[in-house]
Amino acid sequence: MAEKNSVLLEVKNLKKYYPLTAGIIPRHIGDIKAVDGVSFCIKEGESLGLVGESGCGKSTLGKTILRLEEPTGGKIIYRGTDITALDKDAMRRFRKEMQMIFQDPEASLDPRMTIGQSICEPLVIHNIGDDKQREEILTQLLLQVGLEPAQANLYPHELSGGQKQRVGIARALALNPKFIIADEPVSALDVSIQAQILNLMLDIQRQRGLTYLFIAHDLSVIKYVAHRIGVMYLGRLVELADKQELFRKPLHPYTEALLSSVPSVKTKDRKRVLLPGEVPSPLNPPSGCRFHPRCHRAMSICSSEDPALKEVSSGHLVACHLYRG
C-alpha cells in the first residue's frame, strides 16, 4: 500500500509557452508564457492546492502535468519515472494512474452518451474486464459517488449540475487511479451543492488513499480541502507552504493581499491589503519580479532581478526579495 511521505509526483522547472504568430506567412512574434518555470512535489496521499487568479496558469499547469498539453520545457517525474518524453504507448500506462476532474460538468460529458457509457468508457479504452465486470464496477462507482445504479441509463441533460459533477468524479475513479487533478471542480455549482461535492471528494480520498492536485481560485475552498497550498502569479509559483502556516503567516505580498481580499462571513473590519491595478499580460510580463508593479513593498531590486523560490523556514517556500532565506 501507499507508504506515507514518499514523493508521488515531482515537477521540475516546468514550462508551457504558446507561440504567438502574426502576418499572412505566420511569423513567430512572441510567446505567451502560461507556465514559466514551476517546481514542486506532491507526496503520496496528500492534497496540494493551487490558487491564483484567472490567467495565472494554474489550469495550464494541471493539463501539462498530465501531458494533455505538451510541456515546452522542464521535467515531470511520476513515481521515479520521467514521463516528460514518454511516447504515446508508454504514456498510456501512466494515464491509468492519473486522472482529471474538470471544471464544467456540462461540457465535459458527452451529451449523446448515457452516464453509464461515459463512466465505462475508460474501462473500454484500457480493455479492462468484460461487460459483466464493467457493469459491477459501474454500480459500485455510482454508489460511491452518491448516485443510484438505475441512473446509469440517464443522459447528462437529465441530471442537475451537482449530479453531473458526481458523474465526472465517478469517471475519473473508474480506472482506480492514484493521482487526481481536480480543476475547479466546484466553481460552477451552487453553494449548498459545493459542500456536498467537496465532502464527497474528501471521503473518496480517505477511502482510496488518493493524492490530489486541487486547482481553484477560491481560497476558502482550497483551505477546506488542501494540506499544502501553492500560490501562483503570472505563470510562477510565488509561495508554497502548509495550509496553517500559509494562513497564519503569509510571506509574499501577493499572498497577503489575496488572503485579505477574500470576503468572509466571520471576520469583521480586518486589515485589507487592496491591490492596485490588474494582472499584467503573460505575453509581456514585467521585468524582475512579476508582481512588483502592484506590490506595496516593492524595492529597487524588484524591477531588475527575478526572485527565485527558496525555502525560508521548514517547508515554507517563497519567491520574494524581502526574504533572503
Binding site: 451552487d190 449548498s192 456536498q196 465532502n199 462571513v265 491591490l275
Partner: protein, 327 residues
C-alpha cells in the same frame, strides 16, 4: 403614509409574483416576495440558482420577456407610482434615470460595436437636458471616479479593449450617469477575480456612503453579503424566507435554510473538519414542492410543512421569517 424620517423608504416591493407561462407549464419564478429598500442602504437578495432573485430584480423594472412572463400579483411602489401597472412611457422615464440596473455579465451587457463613450453619453442625452460636450465631460468625471486610469482615452475604446474588472466599472459608470436614486446590481462580482472583487466591493461601499445611494445587491455569496450589506433577504423557491439585518442573519439565523447556507460555506476564517452540507438540491421553479418549498431538504421539517405554506412571522421589528417553527 410611512413614518420614514431617517429610514425613509425609497422602494417598496409587496407580495410580488412573476410567473412564466410556457408550453411545459407555469414557472413560478417569483412567488410572493416583499421587502422595502431604505435610503442609503445596501439590501442584499441572496439565494442559489433558480430562487428567483434575478427575476425579482427584472420585475422591478418590468424587463423580463413578456410573453411568456407576467406579473400576476403584487406591487412595486416607487414615489407613489406602482411600477407593475404604470404606462410604458412612465416606466421609460424611470428606467436608467431613477432606478438603474447593472446586469450580471459585464461582457454581454456592453454593446461591442459602440465605443465606451457612446454608450455612456447615449443614456445621459436620453434622460437629461445636456449637449454632447457636457455629457462627455461628465462621462470622463464618472470614469475617473470609478478609478479608471486615463479616462479620456477609455471613452474612445471598444469593450473588447478592456479587462473584465474595467468593464464592470464602466457599467457602474453608465448606471450612475443620470444620478439615479436606486441602483440594482445583479451579481456584479461573480465573474471577476478575488483581488478585483475586493476593489469593486470597495467602490460600491463608497457609492453608498458618499452618494447615499440605495442599492439592491443580488448575490449568492454570503461572504460578499457580510462585506457590504446592511440587510439581507434570503430567497428560496421564489419566496423571501428570511429578512433581517446582516449581523442577525450571520449570528442568529432563524430559517433552517439560512442556517444550512451558513454552515455549508467554506470560509477562510473557519477551521472545520467537515462541512455540513444541505442534502438534495435547489428546487426546479416549475415543480416547487408543496407547502414550504424547503421541506424536502429541511432537517427540522414538521408534519405541517409539506401541507401548508408557512406564514410570514415577524420575530422582531427587523427580523421576519417564513417558517412553521416560529409563530
Amino acid at each position: 403614509m410611512e413614518t420614514g424620517n431617517i429610514d425613509a423608504i425609497v422602494l417598496r416591493v409587496n407580495e410580488l409574483r412573476t410567473y412564466f407561462f410556457t408550453r411545459r407549464g407555469v414557472i413560478k419564478a417569483v412567488d410572493g416576495v416583499s421587502f422595502e429598500l431604505r435610503r442609503g442602504e445596501c439590501l442584499c437578495l441572496v439565494g442559489e440558482s433558480g430562487c428567483g432573485k434575478t427575476v425579482t430584480a427584472l420585475s422591478i423594472l418590468r424587463l423580463f420577456d413578456s410573453p411568456p412572463g407576467r406579473i400576476v400579483g403584487g406591487t412595486v411602489c416607487y414615489n407613489s407610482t406602482d411600477l407593475t401597472t404604470c404606462s410604458p412611457q412612465q416606466l421609460r422615464r424611470i428606467r436608467g434615470k431613477e432606478i438603474a440596473l447593472i446586469l450580471q455579465e459585464a461582457q454581454s451587457a456592453l454593446n461591442p460595436v459602440l465605443t465606451i463613450g457612446d454608450q455612456i453619453i447615449e443614456q445621459m442625452r436620453l434622460h437629461l437636458p445636456m449637449d454632447t460636450n457636457e455629457a462627455r465631460a461628465k462621462a470622463v468625471r464618472l470614469l475617473r471616479e470609478m478609478g479608471i486610469p486615463s479616462a479620456e482615452d477609455v471613452l474612445g475604446y471598444y469593450p473588447h479593449q478592456l479587462s473584465g474588472g474595467m468593464k464592470q466599472r464602466v457599467l457602474v459608470a453608465i448606471s450612475l450617469s443620470c444620478d439615479p436614486r436606486v441602483l440594482i446590481a445583479d451579481e456584479p462580482t461573480t465573474a471577476v477575480d478575488v483581488t478585483i472583487k475586493a476593489q469593486i466591493l470597495d467602490m460600491f461601499r463608497e457609492l453608498k456612503e458618499k452618494r447615499q445611494m440605495s442599492i439592491i445587491f443580488i448575490t449568492h455569496d454570503l461572504g460578499v453579503v457580510a462585506e457590504i450589506g446592511d440587510r439581507a433577504v434570503i430567497m428560496y423557491g421564489g419566496k423571501d424566507v428570511e429578512t433581517a439585518p446582516i449581523p442577525d442573519i450571520i449570528n442568529f439565523p432563524k430559517h433552517p435554510y439560512t442556517m444550512g447556507l451558513l454552515e455549508c460555506l467554506p470560509d477562510v476564517a473557519k477551521e472545520v473538519e467537515r462541512l455540513n452540507s444541505i442534502p438534495g438540491m435547489p428546487p426546479d421553479p416549475s415543480y416547487l414542492p408543496s407547502g414550504c418549498a424547503f421541506h424536502p431538504r429541511c432537517p427540522r421539517a414538521l408534519d405541517i410543512c409539506p401541507r401548508q405554506e408557512p406564514p410570514l412571522v415577524q420575530l422582531s421589528k427587523e427580523h421576519k421569517v417564513r417558517c412553521h417553527l416560529y409563530g
